[in-house]
Symmetry: C2
Subunit: 607 residues, 2 copies
Amino acid sequence: MNFTVDFEPIGLRFLCEEPLTISAAACLAGVSLKSECRGRASCGKCKIRVHGSGLSPITQAENEHLSENQLAEGWRLACRTVVSQDVSIYVPVTSRVTAQVFQIDSEIGGVPPTSLVRVLPIKVTPPSLDDQLADLERLAIVLKQEHTIENLWAGLPALKSLRTALREGDWQITVALRGEEVIATYPSSIPTLVGLAVDVGTTKLAFYLVDLSTGQTLATKGVMNPQIAYGEDVMSRLGAAMVDQMNALRLQMEVIQVIDAVAEELCLSRGLTKTHLLDICLVGNTAMHHLLLGLPTRPLAVIPFVPALTAPIGIYADQLGLASAPGAQAYLPPPIAGFIGSDHLAFLLAAGFGEDTRIKLGIDIGTNTEIALQVGEEIVSCSTASGPAFEGAHISHGMRAALGAIERVKISQDGTVHFDVIGDEPALGICGSGILDVLAELRSAGIINLRGRLNPDKPGVRSQNGRLLNFVLVSAIDGRREIMITQEDIDQILLAKGAIRAGIDILMDYLNVSQDDIDEVVIAGAFGTNLDPCNAVRIGLLPNLPVDRVNALGNAAGAGARMMLVSSKARKHAVSLAKKIGYLELTVYPDFNKYFANAVRLPQPLL
Amino acid sequence: MNFTVDFEPIGLRFLCEEPLTISAAACLAGVSLKSECRGRASCGKCKIRVHGSGLSPITQAENEHLSENQLAEGWRLACRTVVSQDVSIYVPVTSRVTAQVFQIDSEIGGVPPTSLVRVLPIKVTPPSLDDQLADLERLAIVLKQEHTIENLWAGLPALKSLRTALREGDWQITVALRGEEVIATYPSSIPTLVGLAVDVGTTKLAFYLVDLSTGQTLATKGVMNPQIAYGEDVMSRLGAAMVDQMNALRLQMEVIQVIDAVAEELCLSRGLTKTHLLDICLVGNTAMHHLLLGLPTRPLAVIPFVPALTAPIGIYADQLGLASAPGAQAYLPPPIAGFIGSDHLAFLLAAGFGEDTRIKLGIDIGTNTEIALQVGEEIVSCSTASGPAFEGAHISHGMRAALGAIERVKISQDGTVHFDVIGDEPALGICGSGILDVLAELRSAGIINLRGRLNPDKPGVRSQNGRLLNFVLVSAIDGRREIMITQEDIDQILLAKGAIRAGIDILMDYLNVSQDDIDEVVIAGAFGTNLDPCNAVRIGLLPNLPVDRVNALGNAAGAGARMMLVSSKARKHAVSLAKKIGYLELTVYPDFNKYFANAVRLPQPLL
């Protein structure tokens, strides 16, 4: 099942594989919609107009927020409308977030495109027996005369394409250049100058097809990382690669094949072919970076976790096995350290780190969570193995933030549970933001104590067959399964939040910062977008800060990747930013265990 | 059947596949032996001492030129000793040519090596949890501190090798650099710094394994071009490539596989592996150049015969499918025009064109013959399709210059034939230099007229079964076949010499030079080495010049390739030389047909 969601007038096409709310689609596609209530349908700010069939029925919340006329015209709330077939969505300016630090948007906020690639229409004199000049030299003369390009050259694949294009185009062609290098030639004009940015995540790959001349994102897609068959986390991937060199090659090839296939799909969705792809920017954690390049990964997996390089690298895409314009390069921004990758750099770039001297905390929550703290001119990052609990994995009824996931939870003192489900569907499980809410609410209601122990005397808490205690969120009705949270789940979540919070506390100690000094917290990732910052503070995931200092950036790594794709200035800035970022190895920090033990605990209730 | 011939004290190893005279082996291996009699065993200058078995018996000529003591010590004449098993040959200084324009020798005359590649032993501090610097950056620090190398970088294959070598070598490695680029790393020291030069001929490939630090040639080999299955000349190869893209790919792959295999063989013969190959220089005609690179060849085969580029190109060897040091490049010097390749450039470089302003004529005789005329600062080259007659092909009893080939011929007025055979064996056929002699002698004896017609009234001339006339060189005795030259053979030879001479005459006309102005004629190729310059003048192949102005250079293209392999200065010089060389298209020259018709005729007898 495949369908497209077009966002207008932005001109962005998003490829979907399963039904989802327009809010979710917008978030994944990188279109920032207003959502003051964070998806609870209470603020009514995410109004959009939608055309197409296969939409979910109008909800009560929409009847309250929209007039009859508006509903008749096709206006809906993005957070309450589920799409499952091709649709076109009109996003009015009033529903878009504009004045944010950074816009995860089709126009990349604040980055005017200064693409490394440019395209010129060229006409040359045809050769004759009196003028047997070679193809490349014939082109060089015109480019020197008309565009003052001095030392024109071309690699082998571009030379082949030039030879064919000149004759097919009857000596009138379109030339794509990177500096003085010919990277592609076409026998006619080309519709758009496009590039591809990919955030290669351990779990998911996020793709962005971008117009290099305007910076506009033309199409996006997210797919699962096929390496997942070798294990869910980075360490099991590295382990698989260590066992057997063939495995390492397979891990590399599977990701490359997926990138190649999705690149083609996105190009085709815009009436282009892969030969139009003129530039590529790939970000990812250091393990993904090394596996993708086929660099030996063993030293990343064993102490002292040393990467092969922390410099940026540009590789001809065909050398990596990626079809594209003949001389197109894949640019991989610098990794920072063994456990801090170029995705973290892209996040910090998108979040404006290094652009001012405010005290800023940046957190990218995932199976591995990277945390950066900026204090004046100094930036220090660390990485912590937080596990997949906040992604809904390894939790009894956990699931990712998809249709049917409980994303908001309220629990009264008497144990009554109120919840919101994505798509207003029957609840199937609970996703990261819901899990975080559950913990905060259980604590507020006094159902768990400071160490997260369920109190068997509280309403809703029970033990089954002598096993550990659990708390029922949704009872089994109409033959659907019961949804509960177990003591084991709570322990998992506390370990995850403890790992993250310990990292934050150690960075603050290392740079001598107290929680009141922090001007801003930026949280990346889908989890950050859905998370209720109040509850993040209530369970102690974040330091005790006013919640208006907390900003969610969505897929900030993907945004940073797009910035580096379209802007040579952004690449330069990112390289100097990377040199500024210090890496702190948490496990050897004095009293690490004490920090961790403290961080696992829940704070005293605030509200 | 494979055996090796070691030339000492030069230290050159030559790999043979069939029995041949030591003179022939020396010539093929690029060792210049004195030979004033041009292989007639009359000058006695090619004395060498040989150790090993499988040598041909001592000849009468050797008994005359060598004392009993010398014979007992193993002294022989190189032109009379055939080797067929592993031997070691001592070449005394007195037997070597030293004061020539250019030395086709293990030390490349006048070119001090200024290799682009250098090798450094490096020791780095091992990483630890307190020092997690990446591999490349760790190396960069030491290279900056100890060798003032500023912006160290590495391509992907070299990065992989670095990662492994650092750990295998326990943080003490050998690093090979091209400028600021790491091209290879070894976990221990390496015995020799080697590169490979290849002259990719239409018929034959000549290989030279060279020590990049001394310029010394370490091993050589010649093998047939496997593309010969697609046709003997350049045009049939281009035709095959045009018919079918798969053919073009096959033509490319077959040559690459041969280069790869011989590279390995030569490396192994010196106790090295291909990972030690740090640089490669490939020369060849423009068709070979394009086929090797996989560039579309159609425009080379049709008017106006335009090449893809006339710039030099450096390609990572692994991109071409050649195994070598991870970051080694294959350097392909610039082709001059569609029918003038980088082999011609290499020849002119080796022959010192562009180094003085004398009037010099350079001729490389082959199926296609390239001719260059230098007058002052000006150099003009042309190409002419002379066919394979001078290589012994398409001649009734023609053969190449191998064991059993008639290489010298004398014919008396009465038709009696005297001849010399390579290796003093029974005659099997006649090679290029013999064919040229036959023509000159038949003319002197008045057996053929100005137009090459055999006179049926002259002794030795006969007609068989009403067919065209022929002249018997060797009668059928002892059951061996008769060897003769037919009227058709003579016509073939006259067309070949006409094509070459017309080219020379047109260049002289174009640059306004008369034959007396010419200071020097340099002839490249094996044919040039065996040819009797007197007879070349007598049949009108060359203008009427004193024969001491004629010099043979052997495989000059291979020599030029070696110069460009070991010397960055030679590369620069060759590129500026290439820009100087004008190309003259003969077929559109005014009165071309008249020049050709004149050139086909034989001159009046001189002697």
